[in-house]
């Protein structure tokens, strides 16, 4: 394994990790604050991707299309929170799973009605279409570097918001005890709506950026949601730090596992281990720490 390849795979692992983080942080935030399990989270990623496809055909300036796609997703998130999620906060997790799974099917079908079954095309912005030379022989797509950078910035902004702002303080307090925060005069309904929109926006950001890389079609976010759920379980449900650490760990383990296991165990067995590595890690973490790496005990 050459140094250039290791470096390239490190970039790939970091990028996969950051995309997973954008998904996982929303899942864990909704659970931590509203105690909500949201299986429609993958739909938000899908909506982001479809909206950038639609915006891209009307708006030529990429930054504007980018903002428009996020705004449209935020509008959908507000409607969804108001119509479906709000009554679910007080219900059991099984009800939430059933209802949000239903929502994801409905959104998948709505997308088919609006845009058709065939995948739609999303062009990356031209000024990000090039590649950067990381060694003399290997170059790395500029667009992928940009994804990692934007995802990292989004994570940083979220951290600043939660740890260093009044809104963040309220969100954290709401997560501890929503009733008391409500009694102190904070509009908990509005607060929860805000959290839902933020977590949806993070997923949509992932979708907007993945649009040019993967197939933009109905149900596209669901496989990523499965991986993100594994990440959340590894990191500890409700823990933001856990989501970050587990995302990066899964990204790196998955990427390097694809290289290392086949070399150690041969193509056939190595492939099997590499494909299952994330879930093996999840089983291992649950066996040792049932609440995940950073999960709180007694939750």
């Amino acid at each position: 394994m050459s140094a250039a390849l290791v470096l390239e795979q490190a970039f790939n692992g970091l990028q996969l990790g950051m995309i997973l983080f954008l998904m996982a942080v929303g899942v864990t935030l909704a659970f931590g604050v509203m105690s909500l399990i949201n299986l429609a989270h993958g739909s938000m990623l899908m909506l982001g991707a479809y909206f950038i496809a639609a915006a891209g055909t009307h708006i030529t300036a990429y930054p504007l299309a980018f903002v428009a796609a996020l705004l449209l997703t935020a509008l959908c998130a507000v409607a969804l929170e108001w119509l479906v999620m709000r009554p679910l906060y007080q219900r059991g997790h099984l009800d939430q799973v059933l209802a949000t799974f239903g929502v994801s099917i409905a959104i998948n079908e709505a997308v088919v009605m609006l845009w058709g079954r065939e995948a739609v095309f999303v062009a990356p912005p031209e000024w990000l279409d090039g590649a950067v030379a990381i060694t003399e022989t290997v170059s790395y797509p500029l667009y992928r570097l940009a994804i990692t950078a934007v995802a990292a910035l989004a994570g940083l902004a979220l951290w600043l918001l939660l740890a260093h702002s009044r809104l963040g303080m309220r969100i954290r307090a709401g997560a501890e005890n929503g009733d008391i925060v409500g009694a102190l005069g904070v509009n908990v309904r509005l607060l929860f709506c805000g959290v839902f929109v933020i977590s949806s926006l993070l997923a949509a950001l992932g979708g907007v950026m993945l649009g040019p890389l993967i197939a933009v079609q109905s149900g596209m976010g669901d496989p990523l949601l499965i991986l993100a759920l594994a990440v959340v379980v590894i990191g500890g449900v409700g823990s933001l730090k856990g989501a970050l650490v587990a995302s990066l760990a899964v990204g790196v383990i998955d990427t390097f596992g694809r290289m290392i296991w086949p070399q150690l165990l041969g193509d056939l067995l190595g492939n099997i281990v590499a494909n299952g590595a994330v879930y093996l890690l999840m089983a291992l973490v649950i066996a040792i720490r049932p609440t995940g790496l950073y999960g709180q005990h007694g939750n």
Partner: protein
Amino acid sequence: MTPSTTCACLPWPHTARRIAAVLALTLASGLAIAQAPASLKLGVIVGTSGPFNVAGAEQKRGVEIALAHLNGRLGGVPFEVIEADSKGNAEATVSEMSRLIERDHVDLIAGLTASNEIIAAIKPITDAKVFFFGMNGGPAPIAGAGCSPYYFNASFQNAQITRGIGGYMSAHGVKKLYLIGMDYEAGHEHTDAARDGFTGDVVGQSYTPLTQLDFAADIAKIRASGADAVFAFYPGGPGIAFVRQWAQAGMTGKVALYSNIALSEPTVFQAQGKAAVGIIASGNYSATLENPANARFVQDFRAKFGRDPASFAGLAYDTMMLIDAALRQVKGNIRDQAAFRAAIEHVRFDSVRGPFRFGSNHQPIQTNYVFEVAQRTDPGGAQRPDAGLYLKRVGVATENAVDEFASKCQMK
């Protein structure tokens, strides 16, 4: 098509016209009874929802064109189509098949989209003694020992559309090959078929999970392996992701990308865009095959849907035309099942894919072509639903080939 109720064109009064009409009808139906059933019911079952819905919807488009060409008659007999959705899974297939057979009393069934559906359908149709014509895919088990006298595969045996590409790659200077595919039965079947006949070295192989969407790590591995070509089996959504990421990683033109038409077809051309240009793919059908039947089909398909038909549509159309020709042989009479079966086994019709006949195991004997994804030269093509791309015929992988399982089938 718009009959006028106040027709002044005929000089006789209404009552006389009515009598004439009744007489004509009686005569016509009397003749029909002597030869064939008055009408037929054809069940058409495709996976228009579920994981293969893009393919299923394209099959339906092919059927739609066929219905227009058949003009209400199948093998000379008026017929109606009863639709069903196999949903891409075995359970729905079995229950929908049972509904078609037991409740709707269909005479024949055509369709299915995925191999798992076909495997599930064999027992119901064999038990009920209803002929079934497969429109897409042919899993190995029922091409061989599990073959059924009531199942005819009008599309392709799965590995058949890949076989021969190995020899083609060797003939075109590929020395070091990397195999990659989705980690399920078809992924292994097609990569194994691609290896067959390849005389160089296979320098690596990877099988990725069905849910994987990012192939950056695998593409980096391929580059590091020093391969001068890769055979990749990725149908549908993952195929779009693989092709776009392949181009974005700067691999186009450096490492040749081979596959079969599952990777790149008109249904995914728009989403893949110019990243698909240069892919070499084997397959039994494309819109560019030159024969009169295909010219007519493609022209009408384009007029209706604005792009070239994908193989799912071409094979669905072909299946309908095949049934039509076989029925014509027995004058629409399917009560004598042995005679009808013989008619299907020896069916001759103008297939859109060129020469076609059935082998002893009811699987097609046909030519596997080699295509290259190319860009049309006319301007404005990128705006079309196929992004101006088409499958250019560049060679032949196997000619009039029998699948490898034919000898294992004992048709009872």
